[in-house]
Symmetry: C3
Subunit: 152 residues, 3 copies
Amino acid sequence: MTGLTVYERLNRLGITLPSASEPAAKYANYVKVNNLLFVSGKGPAGNPDGKLGEDFTTIAGYQFARQAGIEVLAVLQSAAGSLDNVKRVVKIQGFVNATPHFKEHHKVLDGCSDLMLDVFGDKGAHARSVFGAVSLRDNLPIIIDSLFEIEQ
Amino acid sequence: MTGLTVYERLNRLGITLPSASEPAAKYANYVKVNNLLFVSGKGPAGNPDGKLGEDFTTIAGYQFARQAGIEVLAVLQSAAGSLDNVKRVVKIQGFVNATPHFKEHHKVLDGCSDLMLDVFGDKGAHARSVFGAVSLRDNLPIIIDSLFEIEQ
Amino acid sequence: MTGLTVYERLNRLGITLPSASEPAAKYANYVKVNNLLFVSGKGPAGNPDGKLGEDFTTIAGYQFARQAGIEVLAVLQSAAGSLDNVKRVVKIQGFVNATPHFKEHHKVLDGCSDLMLDVFGDKGAHARSVFGAVSLRDNLPIIIDSLFEIEQ
């Protein structure tokens, strides 16, 4: 999809961005400092609940990571005015709600990483890390924490 | 408490900042880069120990999160010279020592988020994320990792 | 080792940096923004597997943290051109694959912190935080997430 704008890519991917979801508690959806935009942790829409390695397969987890990424994009759009103002996806951390024996956290987080590459192309290549959380708010399967560089 | 300085707010809240606690191991309490101040993970004073969902209620966890936040403020004051030099609370991550079935991590972290809003007003609104850690150093109930914007 | 260059220090420490390891999934090894270099999560070479508090002692964990730190240095060297371009180790997060009753996460992470101080001297003093992950990719014992300031 080289040469397409971010919104043309979203359209081809069949993704319609929702409105930014409200923070789950007493905090802001994002904070801007200099050209950096820090986005609060976001889970998939619809509040699915359960653990990887027990309630969900890695493939289901991949889809949840992608859905959580769409919630991040919704915040990003409201924060930056337009996704066209995003210069780079800088960093993603994935908190995977998992059992002690789960080993495929990286394959789960790929759902969010692939989304960023699909939507932003080269600007979507990011640093990242992922780990198993013993539990998450409302038993969400995944939460995505993220950082972006934006045009000033 | 609109119009009050940070120290007037602390006074009304009845909070006396302790000296910054020593790092628990071989690292610095904070590092400044540009106008960003990265603060090392801090737990509540007095080294309480136990897990949310087992040893402590969510309400007790909220208080621990607030106490850990006070330890963060102590470091912040020593790093920035004065809390008046803090331009913005940028990002907070909460590591909650929790059981696999705990679901109220966000309500626990509100103890720290409310403190930041109480002390800094609008400048206290921050991005944040929270997850359940299977265990923490010395079995602390919570550790707060944080990032601030300061005047240069 | 005051007055020595970073490469003289590495030499005295008997450390030969490997080539930067490939990302374990679909992401970049690092992203640069302004003078900040965000490095993706790295585990120790050779893919050891097991948990602290069960399969490995704290002393073994310390060595794994050091080895993971060497993998971080390898990425850093390829990203910054030379370790001489590193101005400061800013922040380290350690994800320790641990049991619910493990309490020495800080002593484990010291393996990485000591390496940074050994290699960079005063520039190696960093902010950090550490927690117990219920599980990690491929059952790695530790993953290190890191941030550096580099010369522009």
